[in-house]
Symmetry: C3
Subunit: 167 residues, 3 copies
């Protein structure tokens, strides 16, 4: 966890966080050209293993995200942003997203997701080169088969009975 911070790495973190935030804003607005410009031209984006939820390259990503119009409204809220800036214009980030979706009939679907990203510094600023997604959980309305995030199992001998009256 301990890191030395200089002005340059603090600024890089700020710029990368701005990209993560812009992704949410552009997606909720369905401004797909602006969203695409946050990624490298050769980006790989894997929301789920199902090939309909993967994209190879910026153009493919923009084309495939047309699926989001099947919702009449969405709200993507980023939190838990953790960025590691490496040498030579590379960085990684993990972040959490609460993504709310409303279908035309009014039904909603909410997922508690995680973005796992690799960033590259380009002449046009920091861009997402690789994005994978997983989720900690979702409500019953959310059906997209995002991979479930890893969670450690309880140690041997742990039983739920001991804890069940905690509420």
């Amino acid at each position: 966890m301990k890191q030395v911070h200089d002005l340059q790495s603090l600024a890089a973190r700020q710029e990368i966080q701005d990209v993560l935030v812009a992704y949410c804003a552009h997606l909720d607005r369905m401004d797909l050209p602006a969203l695409g410009a946050l990624f490298t031209p050769t980006c790989r984006v894997i929301y789920a293993d199902d090939p309909r939820f993967t994209a190879e390259g910026r153009d493919d990503l923009v084309r495939s995200l047309a699926r989001m119009w099947r919702w009449q409204r969405t709200a993507h809220h980023i939190s838990n942003v953790l960025i590691r800036v490496g040498p030579d214009g590379q960085a990684t980030s993990e972040s959490s997203v609460m993504a709310w979706h409303e279908a035309p009939g009014g039904d909603t679907a909410t997922v508690f997701g995680r973005y796992l990203d690799e960033f590259q510094l380009t002449p046009e600023g920091w861009k997402i080169a690789v994005r994978r997604m997983e989720m900690n959980g979702a409500d019953a309305g959310f059906k997209v088969p995002l991979p479930q995030a890893r969670r450690e199992p309880p140690p041997e001998g742990w039983t739920i009975e001991e804890w069940q009256d905690l509420g």
Copy 2:
């Protein structure tokens, strides 16, 4: 998206973010004098076009926010903060808020809102000079007529049928 950051602009962003956070904390506590002090004396605040949801000046804002006592509990969580610091002590910010409200009977109302703010640097620090609000969506319990955020329509020829089996 590319920006040059110096220490002064990074510090300004931190201070502005602190104001956005303090607004939520003071509102959930209903500490309205402390909330008012985050705004300029001549601020304009437009939560919705309905004149009952607008305020002209800090005193009017504090007076009008007494309406929030119609909820017995609230929780305002800020995310997606994007700040642009301009020259001459001006800045703008966009942010998202998940605002949960609980009525005395226990009914709840949740909105996925957006704050669109103009900040001014004063001798007492950065203050909100203009705040407008809009929303990406809300659950059925939320009735305040916040303006709906702009969303691009699908291109001609797009049909939901192609995407409906995605979940």
Copy 3:
């Protein structure tokens, strides 16, 4: 709200925020050794007054958090982070958390909580020395008796009737 920021205090805030984020990530993964390492060995953690929700020291904390395995999935999303860095390696922070929990049967419980923390700078970085928790609210599924956050009462003469048609 007005503060002078130098590079050292901005970096300290970033490092402390990283600890707050890592807590959520480790808790949702149930990586309790990694979670414990975010606290000082002699930390005090008081989620609720009930002694089953308090811990004295890192080892006790790790042992007691085994209770979180009674949920099959959780998602902790931090926001509203406000950090004050003091002299001599001390800092305090307040933050909000939206914590979603899913029981093995599929029932869910969501709380809108607040972490009130004291940090210490150690040779291994910033560590949480004291954590208290409270909540602004929760849905009906959440039963843990977190203390309710303070909220100012309305002034004398305020009546809900005046505001009830606002929605």
